[in-house]
Symmetry: C2
Subunit: 501 residues, 2 copies
């Protein structure tokens, strides 16, 4: 395996000579070689021009061609899982099992969209037959269906180096829609991106795709991504990352001469409501599951449960006591990058310092590239006074909120911003007694989980991974599952087209 | 029939005491009585609070309730067609046949959405069954469907006082989606709006709807509409009107703490491409149909064909000669308001004054509240030098563009902005010789019409009335037909909900 660290412009490689940057070997803290080379500004143009050409060519080709391409990429990824394990574990500190699992999820997503393409159901084909005898005017024949928007810019995510990066969910959905993709690779895992890009280019060549269905641009900063979103050939944007990053892209896209949609999945604290009977009867097992969920992947999932709401003032209650015990026994957790680890430390320190917040337990002390699991506590009234207590801290930190009564919980739910998920733990009696709360939570999220945890997102036809702003920029979308294709489609109608009847 | 000119706040009427404004009796030019009363700023709050309450109540009720409401509004409108004829003809100068036809279209739209609701197909219900035995983790049950976004602000359109105003297409689609509507009435036809609002309120009461599913706010200016789009309870916007107006609303919506989608249908010149064999063999009949289309409704349709592209340099050719003759014989055409008539005069004067533009024919001279049909001519090379020749002039004006060869037409198509429609007149041989042009036009519009004219939009399941920016703010939407409901819906997923299985 020889890596060069240069961008991919269709079937060509980008130039060196610009800025270079290194990912970090997170075990040693040393920079990894070879470095990655930032793309040159003119290479944005090259990638977008190729993407536009490829878009025009894909429009003329059968969907089966794209399905074959998606399947070839999936097979190629599976075949290189050993290389991915070697590189991705080093760049991201994710364990081997996770990298293998995420590779399977990524190839599975690609095959899911290939199957969707083959089914034809995605295009929502509609037909109204002509009626030449209709009065007062003849009725024309109308045939409509969904068609692709054009080239899509995808921003690789730090926390899913495979499943939401170069050939991840956004890319697979865009390709399925007939939209070539220009990826801005995440600077934390350029080597992973390069391997995946090699797989994609080989699959595109092998299945005879037009050049430009894929490009990958490296850049350690923001300028290139901004240029990409501003480029007139780009017709939509897929992004998973911070709220600040998503808002910046939304602003750029809205200010273009031709505004384009941005699908940004940004921030969510995924509140978990512990209803009284469930908490009283299942406290210990709930605590174990809560701990597993909030520390899973070092808390670096967008569905990490960051708020735990219920009658939780008593530190000796089975739920709180067990959660404290498990948190205290948590080893230091590896983070995806030194920068993310640093932001986590700052976020926890800020939250701990706010009035009304109490530290309940901490895990083992963490090194510079690690995070210390943190269990904090506050009250519903403190939250009402200071809504920033509800802001996301990305990493293994969660906040118990004492909200004992049904009205306390309802008020807290009403104060929430938009979320990817909300969760309730409840018996049948709890559900019956909290109908208002359930209705309120439906307004606040895209997925409502019962007696489970929000982490572990299924990838299928019925999942919704989206939610009201600021969970996503456009709550009318999902970034996971087959629903995700709809972001990159628009309806089109042919009236009395003699070629279509 | 007694009208008061005050706003509707749920089941109450708004206060007087603010600014008053008058619609114009377009036959006499005199102000109509009674005047309309601008809503007070606090009435925006009242209407939005009621809409939010109603949204919460509607979420708990069966879809059949909303379908009954839609049908009751439809029946109520049909029953008051005589009143509408009396009032709307005076306020808008539309002829009686058009007002009757548009009333039928409006009630028909409401019944179309009622039927869609009753079918259940609109909700895109999806189900993935649980698999507790799945390894490594059990599979949860997922049920997802589309749900309503929340209260919608609808801006009445000047050019469809019924079908795209108070109970028009945007309102019907929003209601079907479960979204209460706050309408900002168009200041050109307050009396029409008031009659329609009376029908709506009576239907809401008769079918037992929660108060707040509808409010109507009057205002002669922009401030109230801006406050409405800024209001935190409003979750989406439907607008049909000018590009400047649509862009202003998009800007306000994007700058909110919680940005919301704006579905603005803004501007389109609806180019018609006259391919060589069709033009040579059907010149005269094409000219008659072109004239009928561009002067229909005094050219005040969003689908008015404003560009005619082909081999049209010879003023003695059958197509051009006939179009000149029919244009010259066109009587002065009544316009929807004095302001629209004035803007038309300005727009034509500006276009005529641009280099390379020639006047080919004019209709009868027009009075102050009328428009003079205008046929202009230019060349493809003049357009390349000055793209503003392609800008919309709202009214009965159309521009012949001499683009004789296939490459001329292709270049012109590539220079177009996004359109609601594009049209080709073509024989089978023409189509075969212009495949590139057809592909280019598909990129530019939402509906491609063959051997017909863009005016006369069907309302059914297969129509698309939308198109790439600036035809609409979001080319992924349609404002006509059942597809229009999707603007006001978002996907929602219940995971392992014991109430749903």
């Amino acid at each position: 395996m020889t890596l060069s660290g240069t961008s991919f412009l269709g079937y060509q490689r980008g130039r060196t000579g610009g800025a270079v940057f290194h990912a970090t070997d997170l075990a040693s803290g040393q920079p990894l070689s070879p470095p990655a080379h930032a793309a040159h500004p003119d290479e944005v143009d090259t990638a977008c021009a190729l993407a536009w050409q490829a878009f025009r060519a894909w429009r003329q080709r059968p969907d089966a061609d794209r399905a074959a391409f998606l399947r070839a990429v999936a097979d190629g990824l599976d075949a290189r899982v050993a290389d991915l394990v070697a590189v991705t574990c080093r760049e991201t500190a994710l364990p081997e099992g996770r990298v293998r699992g995420e590779t399977g999820r990524t190839s599975g997503q690609l095959r899911l969209f290939a199957g969707l393409l083959e089914s034809g159901a995605w295009m929502d084909a509609r037909h109204e037959a002509a009626d030449p005898a209709r009065k007062p005017a003849p009725k024309p024949a109308l045939r409509s269906r969904l068609i692709g928007l054009g080239p899509v810019a995808v921003f690789g995510a730090s926390n899913f180096p495979l499943a939401f990066s170069t050939a991840g969910g956004d890319t697979a959905a865009a390709w399925a829609a007939g939209c070539p993709v220009v990826v801005k690779g995440h600077p934390c895992h350029p080597q992973t991106s390069e391997i995946v890009a090699e797989v994609i280019v080989a699959a595109a060549r092998a299945t005879g795709q037009p050049e430009g269905v894929f490009s990958l641009l490296f850049d350690p900063g923001h300028a290139l991504g901004q240029a990409l979103v501003s480029h007139p050939r780009i017709q939509a944007v897929g992004f998973t990352g911070s709220r600040a990053g998503g808002l910046a892209l939304m602003k750029i896209a809205a200010a273009r001469p031709q505004p384009i949609p941005v699908f940004a999945e940004m921030s969510s604290v995924n509140p978990v409501f512990l209803l009284p009977e469930a908490l009283a009867t299942r406290g210990e097992s709930l605590a174990a599951a809560t701990h597993g969920s909030y520390t899973m992947g070092s808390g670096q999932f967008c569905t990490c449960p960051g708020l735990l709401v219920g009658d939780v003032a008593d530190p000796a209650s089975p739920y709180v006591a067990k959660l404290r015990e498990l948190t205290a026994a948590t080893p230091a957790l590896s983070m995806l990058s030194p920068a993310i680890a640093a932001r986590y430390r700052e976020g926890v320190a800020h939250l701990r310092g706010l009035p009304g917040v109490q530290l309940l337990a901490e895990g083992a002390p963490a090194g510079e590239r690690q995070a210390r699991a943190t269990l904090l506590a506050t009250t519903a009234s403190a939250v009402q006074a200071r809504p920033e207590l509800l802001d996301e801290v990305f990493g293994p930190c969660t906040l118990l909120i004492h909200a004992p009564g049904a009205q306390d919980k309802l008020r807290l739910a009403a104060a929430l911003e938009g979320q990817l998920t909300c969760t309730v733990h409840a018996t049948a009696a709890d559900l019956a007694a909290h109908a208002d709360l359930l209705d309120e939570l439906e307004l606040k999220c895209g997925r409502l989980v019962f007696n489970g945890f929000p982490t572990g997102v299924e990838v299928n036809a019925a999942i919704v991974h989206g939610g009201p702003f600021p969970a996503t920029s456009d709550g009318r979308s999902s970034s996971v599952g087959t629903f995700a294709i709809q972001r990159f489609l628009r309806p089109f109608c042919w009236q009395d087209d003699p070629r279509r009847g």
